[in-house]
Structure formats: C-alpha cells, structure tokens
C-alpha cells in the first residue's frame, strides 16, 4: 500500500458572525473565500466543498457549488454542497480530505456558509429543526431546543446536577468572545445572569442556547507541503465521521453522544493520542448540555462528569482543556453549516500562533468536533501545528 497523502492547511478566511442583513449568501461566502485563497497564494483550487444546511429553506437556493464557483471567479471548477445539518461544515472538510487523499486532486477549498436571517421567527425555528426526525420528533412540536431540553432534564435527573451548575459553559464562551472582534456576543456574562435567564424550552434557557447567525469561513487544503511557505504549518492529523440514530428516542442511552464518541475515538487513534494530549478543543456547544456530553464523548470526562469541567474552570483559556476559545457556538455565534469550518479555522489559528488575544499559549494539538442535530452525525478532526525547516 502506498503511503498516506499528508494534508496541510494552506490558508484560512472568515467573516464576522452575526446578522448580515445587507449581504447575500454569495457575497458572504466570497468574503471568506477571497482571503483564504490569497493566504494560500492559490488562484484556483482543484475542487470546492461547500458546507451549508439551510439555504434551500431559508434563501430558496440550492446548487451552491455552481453558484459559488461562478461567483468567486472559479467557473468550471468541480464544486458540490455537503449537508449534515449542524455538522455540514465538518462533513465538507471530511469529503475534501478524502478527495485529496485519493490522489485525484491536489488542492481543495472548503467553505462553510450560512444565511439564517433571510427569514425570521417560526420559519427559522422550523428550518433549523429539520435536522431532527421530521415524522417522529418534529410532528409532535419538538424543536431543536426542546430536544436538547429533553436530554438536559434527564441528565440533571440521572446525574443529580442543578441548572446553575451548567453556568460555566456560557460564562466561559462569553469571556472568550469578549476578545474576539468577529464574535456575535461580546459581553461578559456572570452566573447570576445565567440563572435568571428566560426559558426557550425548559430547562434550556436563552443563555444555554447558541444564537442562529450568518457567517462564512473557508480553508484551503493542499496535499503535501509543496505549495506551502516555510514557517509554522498546520497538518490534518486525523479525521472521522460517524452517525447515531436520527431521533433521540431511538437511542439505547439518551445521555451518550454515541456518534461523537465513535468519531473522537477513531480520530484520537489515527493521531496516536490520548485525550489528555489534546491542548484545546472546539466542541459543539450549541446547548450547554451538548458541551457536557461532548466532553464526555471525547474522553475528556467520565459519563455524567462533563459539567464539572465547566464548574471548576478547566475549560478556560488557561485551564487544563480550553474549549470554545473564540466564544464557541454560544457567543461567537452559530452559523449552521458554516460552524464546523469556523471551528477548524479557529483551531488552525491557535496552532499557527495567530489567535491574537484568544491565543492558547503553546498549543500543538487541537481537536474540532461538530454535530448534526442532537448528535446524529458527528465529525471530529485533529490538527497539529508543526515547525517546517
């Protein structure tokens, strides 16, 4: 068997996350794609992989591959959209990696883009919920926060955890977003305000929930180091995608994110790492209880103990395992299918030492994991910062 083709990140780009009322989906995507191509000094990638989950319902637009290739001056380039609800961005990265490792292409552009603000209110709630089981969950009036709340209530019941003990997740995310100029919510949050927040779907409150937002992020990937400039490089050390039941009620244990666990275990094995060798993690903290369950799934905490890492400060930027280092979904904002690409851009910046005020000092290994709906799809990537000669 021939040697595995090593893949490196040659450039990144991203927009501020928020409500971009004046910018359409295609313009938003270009604002991330342009800088990523420029940073990689690449005129035309061999293929484009677009991560998006909502454009068909919210912007009445499909076929984003052709749209973005044309709009971004890359007419003719192979381009396709990858959809896996909230894991779309990570899944697009995974597909790009498989294509590069096949040897069929040498460079790839991964772009995550989402416009959630082209509709508002109940239409957005319905569109976002469509990642769950339409016939057997959504028909009963369950929403994405409601399904998270069903999991959170049971978590609190089985593990004896109180609502206030989840506060550390939102507090940490907001603290990190405060120094990220591109974050959506740049305000300090304290545990008292968290405890007083209004309910979205009890026990999930407003401050447990990530805001749906607009945003675009892009990565240029290369097979081998030929096109890279000397300096600190970021290597894709591991990649894994796994699935679980779409409906939460079909799970053997609703308090285990089985897909997240499987993909994290496979990724750690590929990288040859134990969980405690990971220097920072961007996890899918769309709801506080998702952050707790993701920490458990990745092996950073035992079953039922994930919340403790938020309560004892371990997830802070100078803690044992920094998470949501640019604010996470909760405070950087959650641009749907772009979220997984944002996570990868953020981990890349951490490992390249260009995270500015959000820098985790000395980070060498970073993990990014995104989830589709309540963990039905999970994609885990591990990146490594390496010095070149």
């Amino acid at each position: 068997m021939s040697a595995v083709i090593e893949v490196f990140i040659a450039g990144t780009g991203h927009t501020a996350v928020g409500e971009h009322w004046g910018i359409s989906l295609r313009h938003l995507a270009w604002e991330a794609i342009g800088p990523a191509l420029q940073a990689a000094q690449l005129k035309k990638p061999d293929a484009i992989f677009v991560g998006n989950m909502l454009a068909a319902r919210i912007s009445e637009q499909q076929n984003l591959g052709a749209l973005l290739a044309d709009f971004c001056g890359l007419r003719g380039t192979e381009a396709v959209t990858v959809e896996a609800a909230g894991a779309s961005g990570g899944a697009a990265m995974r597909q790009a990696l498989l294509a590069l490792r096949s040897g069929e292409i040498r460079t790839a552009l991964v772009v995550g883009v989402e416009k959630t603000t082209d509709k508002v209110g109940a239409d957005v709630t319905s569109a976002v919920a469509a990642g769950a089981d339409s016939d057997w969950e959504l028909a009963q009036g369950a929403t994405a926060p409601a399904i998270a709340a069903l999991i959170m209530r049971r978590y609190m019941h089985e593990h004896g955890v109180h609502l206030e003990q989840f506060a550390g997740f939102a507090v940490n995310s907001h603290a990190n977003a405060c120094v990220n100029a591109d974050a959506m919510f740049r305000n300090v949050l304290d545990a008292t305000r968290y405890a007083q927040a209004g309910m979205v779907a009890s026990p999930v409150n407003v401050l447990d929930s990530a805001p749906d937002a607009d945003g675009a992020a892009a990565l240029v990937l290369t097979a081998g180091t030929g096109q890279l400039r000397p300096g600190l490089r970021v290597r894709v050390a591991a990649s894994s995608l796994a699935t679980d039941t779409l409906a939460v009620h079909d799970r053997r244990d609703v308090l285990v994110f089985a897909a997240a666990k499987l993909s994290a275990q496979r990724a750690l094995q590929q990288a040859g790492l134990a969980p405690d060798q990971i220097d920072l993690a961007e996890l899918y903290d769309r709801f506080s209880v998702f952050a707790a369950l993701s920490l458990e799934a990745c092996g950073f905490a035992q079953r039922g103990e994930g919340w403790r890492l938020a309560a004892n400060g371990a997830i802070g930027r100078s803690g044992r395992l920094p998470i949501s280092t640019f604010g996470g979904l909760k405070a950087r904002g959650n641009p749907g299918g772009a979220t997984g690409v944002y996570q990868l851009v953020e981990v890349t910046r951490q490992l390249a030492g260009t995270a500015e005020a959000n820098q985790v000092v000395g980070a060498k290994w970073g993990l990014a994991q995104c989830l589709g709906s309540s963990g039905a799809t999970a994609v885990t990537h591990i990146l490594q910062g390496v010095e070149s000669n």
């Binding site: 109940a122 239409d123 709630t125 319905s126 919920a129 089981d133 016939d135 057997w136 969950e137 959504l138 028909a139 009963q140 009036g141 369950a142 929403t143 926060p145 409601a146 399904i147 709340a149 069903l150 999991i151 959170m152 209530r153 049971r154 019941h157 209004g198 309910m199 979205v200 779907a201 009890s202 026990p203 999930v204 039941t245 409906a247 939460v248 009620h249 079909d250 609703v254």
Partner: protein, 138 residues
Amino acid sequence: MEIARHWRLQQQRYGLVGEQCNHCGMKLFPPRDVCPECAQEAKELYRFSGKGEVFSYATVFDAPAGYEGTTPYTVGLVKLEEGPLVTAQLTDVDNDGVEIGMQVEMVTRKLREDGDQGMLVYGYKFRPCLRNEAGLLT
C-alpha cells in the same frame, strides 16, 4: 399541503401501531422494518397498549410554524410499557405539573394546524393516567 405524508402514518398516529421482531422479540415504535437489535427483518404489526411513564420532558416557549397556537406546551419522552421511548406532547396536565416517572396514557389530539384554510393534523399525545393499577378512576 402534505396530505399523503400524514395520511400514510394514520395507524401510528391514531393507533400506536408499531412492529415486533419475530427473531429477538423486540417491540418497535415507530415501525422501521429492520430490527435495530438483531438487524433482521421485523415487519409483523404490533399494537402498543398506550401506557407508559414520563422519562423526560420540556416545555416549549418558542414554537415552530404550525404550533404557535398552543404555546407554551410540554413535549415528553415517554417510555412505553413495552420498552420503546417515544417523543410526544403531554396533555390534560399543567406545564408545571409534570414529573419524571409520572404514569401516562395515549390519547388522540390535534397536533398542528396550517392556517385558516390548511389541514389539521391529529395524532397521539399522552395524559396522566385516569385509572390506577386496580382499574379505578383516580
């Protein structure tokens, strides 16, 4: 309009008809034709009793399109006495009167409405049991 999509599920929505696996005995709701336990075909219909208990619950304040009229409402995970969990609204009970472990039974109620001219979708919800184990009204 999505008439066919709801019509084809009428046995499940009105009668809680699932399946059982004749290979391992597993009871399945909703029907899925392939047993998730033993991966063999499971197509024999099985009508669930409709009795169960609340496994978890959440009160929804921000409803999706078609459900705004009844906000806030409570959605539960109900553990049926035959084994499966189902996601279903809880009804005939105050939103703050629900507890994990509460005994519930299936009833048929309106699930959603699509505007003045639209379709009404009916289906199962669960209410607190009106009879105790001895069959007496409580």
